[in-house]
Each structure stands twice: as C-alpha cells, then as structure tokens.
C-alpha cells in the first residue's frame, strides 16, 4: 500500500537520529514533535534558544507554566539536571558548536544542502528567528518537511528560490516520502516510504536523487 508518512511519523523517524547523550535543538512547528519520540534507553538533552537545556515533554494542561516554554512558545516540563541561561549564552552554545543535532522545518532544500526556511512570497514581515544561527552552528542539521507544497511543487530543488537560511548546511532531509542524505556527490536517497518507487519520488523532486546501494523502506 502506497502511503505518505504523517507528521508524527516523520518526527519519529527524525528522533531516531538522536544519539545517546546528544544535545538537540528542535525548531518551530513539526520538529517540536520529536521531543515525544526519544528512542528507548537514550538520553537526549533538549536545548532551547530562549535559554534552557535539558527540558522534558510538552506540559499537560495541569502542568502548564507560561514561564517554562520551548522556542515554539509551548509550555514544557522540567527535568532533573536541567538549567536556565539568557539568550546571549544560548546562542554562544549554538554558534560555539555544542548542539549535536538541530531539527528544522523548511520551505526548500537545494541539492547542495542550502536551506530556505523562513521567508516566503507575500509575507515580507516574517523573520528567521534563531534559524540562521542554528543552521550555521549545529553539527548536524536535519530538515523535516512535506516532500511537496500544497500545490504539488517540489520542495527539494536544484537551487532555492526562497530566501536562504544558510548555504550548504543541511545534513539529512526527512519528508513524508523519503529520507535523503546530503553528500558531496549530491542527494542520496537512503529510505523511501512504503509502496513508493524511486521514479515516483524523483518525479516529485526537482533535484536529482542518487538511490543508495542499500536503499530501503523507511524504518520505524
């Protein structure tokens, strides 16, 4: 059966990339869901650029504290060993290379790993938040997004037409159709959604995909 992954499943797949003991920052929107899918037995420390390291799950209604929010303005819960700091210190940590993985949403990713995730036509007053800092500073940049736009246009493109967040920063792209690694040779198609073929995914992708020799179905 041919299926597209839902947002929860994309987040689940992304969370599998979090190594034991790693420091992870989750961007605005879909990436935030990853917090609920940490693989069993792994310790992951979530950093949030508003000044917190080591927080827990999203808060239930009863737990909600509006002075305890992640960078998506969602109340989260405290965990032992966590700490708070100010915005300048948070970005020292980010630019200084102490974030192992950042998961970001995107409008477009190019075949070279360029990322466009903040500006779009008709909305000149939006901004990049901490996205540029995170894309420039994190060791590994994972993009989670839908493979195509609402109108079916590819988001994985030869060259970004939307304003860039950072050039050549993306490591891995996880969509509702595929897991794609950005390499020096180009975009390597590592995993594919159940029931989909390589030509079908390529048809929805502007950039050329190089099927991996060990290409497999997305594992969950």
């Amino acid at each position: 059966m041919k299926a597209r992954l839902d947002e929860q499943t994309i987040a689940l797949r992304a969370a599998r990339e979090f190594a034991d003991g790693s420091v992870v920052n989750l961007g605005y929107g879909m990436p935030g869901l990853c917090a609920d899918f940490i693989p069993e037995g792994r310790a992951v420390f979530f950093q949030s650029e508003n000044g917190m390291l080591g927080y827990g799950n999203l808060a239930s209604d009863a737990e909600k504290d509006y002075e305890m929010i992640n960078a998506s303005d969602q109340p989260v819960t405290p965990l032992p060993g966590m700490c708070f700091f100010d915005s300048a210190a948070a970005f020292d940590m980010i630019r200084g290379g102490h974030i192992d993985v950042v998961v970001l949403g995107a409008y477009q990713v190019s075949e070279k790993g360029d990322l466009a995730n903040w500006g779009r036509p008709g909305r000149p007053a939006t901004g990049m938040g901490g996205g540029m800092d995170l894309a420039a500073g994190a060791k590994k940049v994972i993009v989670t997004m839908l493979h195509t736009t609402k109108t079916g246009e590819p988001r994985i493109v030869k060259k970004c037409t939307y304003p860039l967040t950072a050039a050549r920063c993306v490591t891995l792209v996880i969509t509702d159709l595929a897991v794609i690694e950005v390499t020096g040779k180009g975009l390597v198609l590592k995993e594919i959604a159940p029931g989909w073929t390589v030509p079908e995914v390529q048809a929805l992708t502007e950039a050329r995909l190089i099927p991996a020799s060990d290409l497999k179905e997305i594992e969950l």
């Binding site: 650029e49 000044g51 929010i69 100010d86 948070a90 901004g127 901490g130």
Partner: protein, 237 residues
C-alpha cells in the same frame, strides 16, 4: 544613600520616555518574560516615533486568542497605537499565523520600518553594545539577505560578516525578584532576552513579581547586578 529606584506604578516608571527614543523590550515570544505591564503603561503614556528592539513583534490581542484562550496583550499594542517608527528583531511576525498582527499590518501599509536580525546576532549585538565594543564578526547570515551591505571578512579560511552594536535609551524588562538596590533574578525561560537588554540601556526599567530587601538575594545567584537597573516596579502575580 543611593537614589531610590522603587516606583509605585508602571505609569510612573515609564514617565520621561520621550518621542523618538530607542527602547529595548525583553521577553522572547509573545508571552513569558515579556514586561507586559510596562508595555501597556507605555501605550498609555503615548511616546511616539519609537525604535523598538525586541525579539518578536507580538501578535496583538485579536490573534493572541488563537494561541491562548481569552487572548492577552503583547508588544502588538505599541504598533496598534501607532507609536513605533522602526522595529528591530528576529521575528517581526509569525509566518505560521495570518498576516494580521499589528506590526505586519502596519508594515504592509508602509507605516513602519523593519530591520530583521538573526536571533543570536540580535543577542550578541546587544551584548556588544552593552560591553562598549565596536562590532563583531559572525558566520551567521553569510550568503543570505542578512549579509547585504555588510562588510565581509575571511578569517582562517571562513567567511564572516561584521555586525554592529545595539544600545538603547530605555530597556523595559521583566524579572522575578529585585532587591531595592536593583539586583535581579529571573524565573525559568522568562530570563531569555531580559538580562542581556538590562545591560545595554541608559535607563533600565524592570517589573518584578517580588520586591525584597537588600540582603535577601543570595549574591551567588544574582543574574543582573544593580548597576544596570534604574527603576523598579513590583507587579504581584
């Protein structure tokens, strides 16, 4: 004895903010660490042609209902009142919301100028200004619109752009506790931009949940030393 820094109300605390002033406003998003009582007092006070430096432009009361039941006030009120001529920050408006925030509306009508700054660069430009430095080179924004018009430099084979310091005439900030000298501590993620901005303004005005006597704050845990704080208002939660 040192001057009395304790004010009875937010209205008294924002007195003297002049037309054309540059104002930093603490907080992060549209709630949590935002000095909302000072913001609302400033909207009553009416100073105009302000340059506002804040992480986010606010959503305004109407849109806020989508975020939190019943809605809430945020920085949007200053744009609604037409008090701002320029906004400097990382998230003028949220792309995930309709284009109806007061700032976005005013911008689309050509009534306010926006300088968009990556969030970490914003924090560092403020720290740079607070520390009396002239500017710094950062890799953030290289190859993007942010680099436009800025000096570039290659250092050890890596590209950087020059970013300039930010300071302000006034900072409006939110802290958890102050002693009467002006030493401050914060609570959880309400810390965010507040301590950074507190250090970068000629006059820093703070609203706090609790005002305590001198000696009641452990000297090891003070985040903002009192030399940075000029006016304090207690607003009990």
């Amino acid at each position: 004895m040192p001057v009395n820094k304790v004010f009875k109300s937010c209205d008294e605390a924002v007195a003297g903010i002049f037309d054309g002033a540059t104002i930093m406003v603490g907080g992060f998003g549209s709630y949590g660490g935002l000095p909302i009582n000072l913001i609302v007092a400033l909207s009553r006070q009416g100073a105009k042609d302000l340059t506002v430096i804040a992480n986010m432009g606010g959503v305004g009361f109407e849109l806020s209902k989508r975020i939190k039941p019943g809605g809430y006030q945020d920085l949007g009120v200053l744009f609604e009142h037409g008090q701002v001529k320029k906004f400097i920050g990382s998230v003028p408006a949220l792309g995930g919301m309709p284009p109806d925030s007061p700032l976005e509306r005013m911008y689309n009508e050509g009534r306010v100028e926006i300088e968009v700054v990556p969030q970490g660069t914003l924090a560092e430009r403020i720290r740079c200004g607070a520390g009396g430095l002239g500017g710094f080179y950062t890799p953030v924004g290289v190859g993007t619109v942010v680099a436009k018009g800025k000096e570039k430099k290659v250092i050890d084979g890596k590209e950087y752009i020059l970013e300039m310091p930010l300071t302000a005439d006034f900072a409006l900030i939110k802290a958890h506790k102050a002693d009467t000298l002006g030493n401050l501590v914060y609570r959880r993620t309400a810390r965010c931009f507040n301590p950074v901005m507190a250090t970068a303004a000629a006059t820093t005005i703070v609203e706090v949940d609790d005002l305590v006597e001198v000696g009641q704050l452990d000297p090891e845990i003070v985040v903002t030393p009192h030399v940075y704080v000029h006016r304090i208002v207690e607003v009990k939660q």
